[in-house]
């Protein structure tokens, strides 16, 4: 058990904390019920509550802190890793955008500047191509197409004049959108290049297309540049995922790239972490406007990713170890505390039993004189009657008359009965300590109790009056315990009143639907106001010298155990009333019964 090894100084504090928790969660946890069977279960519930609540209270902040750190680390890490890639991707994209826009603009300028007839002149077209090639570079050939897709003039290294393009997809695209940039393809000599085509529409509504082939090499030179190092690969792919420029990792033009590298749909620019093969890469994507190209930038970042993974691993490990540690301490501590609480409860139970027993014996002792007298009287009568019987036989010469013998024997038997009633009452009183419920009529029980005390009352000429309201229900309670309660209270009342003028009134009445009250009022010495709150405390006594100070505290304990309450009211020198309220059926305060 972990708790046993916890340093001693922490325990009392923790114990107090757990006690208050216990009081919070387990209603009436401190009202220990002796001999109740549900005890073990209650300690289990107590421990579960303590463990759960402590765990929640201590783990929630830990979880929150860990998640927060994780989030912060991840944010920092992303910033450090992604930002340079995002910048480099954006710069390169601008360069390519510019490269394409420059050439497109040049073609658009030519198409507006020169008429279809001028451009259809092969000599003129050749001159334009020469100018373009020298001003911009990369232009390989030029073609002029009429609206039917027929190439009317061509300038360049190939013999393409008169070729028809009407049913090619790019031609319908340029007709609709006015401009077209093609994917890269290998020409007749195996050199990669691509096409830019622009459309021009006359005022009369007729239109034609100027088509230029551009050497990819010119574009490739724009890709890369400052900021590109050995860890970085940068290339273009088209919509089908085919390389449009050579890649360090994936080979030459028109090779396919792994699907994991394809750009996220519907995003013009993004940076993400991707795995190619077993290598982690930071990948930047940027789509190039008005072209089938997407720029892809790969940065190998094994070290950074490993650093991040290490931090993340440490965080998770820290969290798990902390959780295990906290849970073990809580579990161990709670088990230990609950055990302590249970031990204390058991000790209390034992001492309560002992006190109850002692008190009962003391009560019996107090009653002994009265009881002895009560038994002595019938014994004396028996003695005299039997003696007279013998006298009659011995002293009168003739056998005694039948009626006389029968009268004496009847008197003897009735005296024996009287004595045994007393002994039975005493036995009934001292029989059991455990709670045992049975239906009880309170007026009858009060009469039984008075049976012990009426002698003393009558010798001291103390008046005892019992009144019972009509229809007071029977209650389910413990006879022996209730006898002890009322014996204590009425005995106290007897002790409080003076001979000859003393008066004790016992009233039995209903109190609400499910309770019955017994009020014991005496006109005795009364109780000081200051003492009213203390008289139910153990060892409080005003009977200096002969009181144990336990009577009323035990009475209080018993009444509580039976689910009732006891209160006291008094005016010093005038009267005192003890009010015992008892439920008609046992309430939840009562546990099981092992008795």
């Amino acid at each position: 058990m972990v708790g046993e090894g916890t340093p001693g100084g922490i325990l009392p504090l923790r114990q107090r904390f757990l006690r208050s928790l216990k009081n919070l969660f387990v209603a009436g946890a401190d009202d220990f019920q002796p001999g109740s069977g549900g005890q073990e279960r209650r300690y289990h519930v107590l421990r579960r509550y303590v463990v759960l609540s402590t765990a929640v209270v201590s783990l929630a902040p830990l979880l929150f802190a860990t998640l927060l750190s994780y989030h912060q680390y991840e944010k920092t890490y992303r910033t450090e890793l992604f930002n340079p890639i995002a910048r480099l991707t954006a710069t390169t994209k601008q360069t390519i955008d510019f490269f394409l826009a420059e050439r497109r603009s040049a073609l658009e300028m030519i198409v507006r500047d020169k008429s279809f007839e001028e451009l259809s002149d092969p000599a003129e077209l050749k001159r334009v191509l020469a100018n373009l090639a020298s001003s911009f570079g990369g232009f390989v050939d030029l073609g002029v197409l009429d609206a039917s897709g027929h190439q009317r003039a061509y300038a360049g290294p190939y013999e393409l004049s008169g070729k028809r393009y009407a049913d090619q997809p790019w031609f319908s695209e340029v007709r609709q959108r006015g401009v077209h940039v093609s994917s890269v393809f290998l020409g007749h000599r195996g050199i990669p290049h691509f096409v830019i085509a622009v459309k021009h529409e006359d005022a009369g509504g007729t239109w034609h297309v100027l088509r230029a082939t551009i050497d990819s090499e010119e574009l490739n030179r724009r890709i890369g540049g400052p900021g590109v190092d050995d860890y970085t690969d940068i290339f273009l792919v088209n919509d089908e995922g085919l390389l449009q420029s050579p890649s360090r990792l994936f080979g030459s033009v028109l090779q396919a790239v792994p699907p994991s590298l394809l750009p996220p749909p519907a995003e013009t620019a993004s940076v993400s972490l991707r795995t190619v093969g077993d290598e982690p890469f930071v990948v930047g994507h940027a789509s190039i406007e008005k072209s089938p190209f997407t720029l892809v930038l790969l940065h190998r970042s094994r070290e950074q990713v490993e650093t991040w993974q290490a931090i993340r691993g440490e965080l998770i490990l820290f969290f798990c170890v902390s959780v295990v540690l906290i849970l073990s301490v809580i579990w161990g501590g709670s088990t230990y505390m609950v055990k302590r609480v249970r031990d204390a409860d058991r000790r209390r139970e034992a001492s309560l039993h002992e006190v109850e027993y002692t008190n009962k014996m003391a009560t019996i002792g107090r009653l002994a004189a009265g009881v002895a007298h009560e038994i002595n009287n019938p014994l004396a009568i028996i003695n005299e009657k039997a003696g007279l019987l013998l006298d009659l036989i011995a002293m009168t010469g003739e056998p005694p008359r039948r009626e006389k013998v029968s009268e004496l024997a009847t008197a003897i038997i009735s005296s024996v009965e009287r004595a045994s009633r007393v002994t039975h009452r005493l036995l009934g009183f001292s029989r059991h300590l455990d709670v045992r419920f049975e239906p009880i009529a309170l007026p009858e029980l009060i009469r039984e109790v008075l049976g012990f005390l009426e002698r003393e009352a009558s010798y001291r000429n103390v008046e005892v009056v019992v009144t019972s309201e009509e229809g007071v229900p029977e209650i389910k309670s413990d006879r022996g315990q209730l006898q002890q309660v009322f014996l204590n209270i009425i005995n106290n009342a007897l002790a409080a009143v003076q001979d000859n003028v003393g008066r004790i009134e016992i009233a039995i009445r209903r109190a609400g639907i499910a309770s019955v009250q017994v009020l014991v009022t005496d006109n005795g010495v009364g109780i000081e106001k200051a003492n009213l709150t203390k008289i139910f405390e153990p060892f409080f006594t005003t009977k200096k010298g002969y009181g144990t100070g336990l009577g009323l505290s035990v009475t209080y304990g018993i009444v509580q155990k039976l689910g009732g309450t006891i209160t006291v009211d008094s005016v010093l020198g005038h009267w005192t009333t003890f009010t015992v309220t008892l439920p008609t059926t046992p309430t939840t305060r009562q546990g099981g019964n092992d008795g």
Binding site: N377, A380, I381, E384, G387, M395, A411, N461
Partner: protein, 127 residues
């Protein structure tokens, strides 16, 4: 000599009357009463030779009856009868001038002997 007149006082009528009957069988003129008041009444009007008095009685207790009897007739022998629980009362009764005390249950021969002693003795029979 006439039969000694004995008054028996006990709140248990059964006891007082039976004891009286037994004493009558033994040559006493005995009668029983069941209260202190009745006893005082009898002593005032019939002047018995001795009184057998139960110490513990309701109402006027045995000792206060003893006090009254002694104030009425200082030389009247009073034999106290007491239970085990009230021996202190008996001692107090001796101090108040009781002749002797007996524990319940009373042995008849012992009582008879005491009564003879009380009614024949030097202080007895002042009538």
């Amino acid at each position: 000599m006439a039969e000694p007149r004995i008054l028996i006082v006990d709140d248990e009528g059964d006891l007082a009357f039976t004891l009286a009957e037994r004493l009558q069988l033994r040559g006493f003129s005995a009668r029983g009463v069941t209260s202190g008041e009745a006893a005082i009444e009898v002593v005032q009007h019939e002047s018995p030779d001795a009184v057998v008095l139960d110490v513990k009685m309701p109402g006027t207790g045995g000792l206060s009856v003893l006090r009254t009897l002694k104030s009425l007739r200082p030389h009247l022998p009073v034999i106290l009868v007491t239970g085990h629980g009230s021996r202190e009362n008996a001692v107090e009764g001796m101090r108040l001038g009781a002749f002797r005390y007996l524990m319940k249950p009373v042995q008849i021969e012992e009582l008879v002997a005491l009564l003879h002693e009380a009614t024949r003795g030097p202080g007895g029979g002042d009538g």
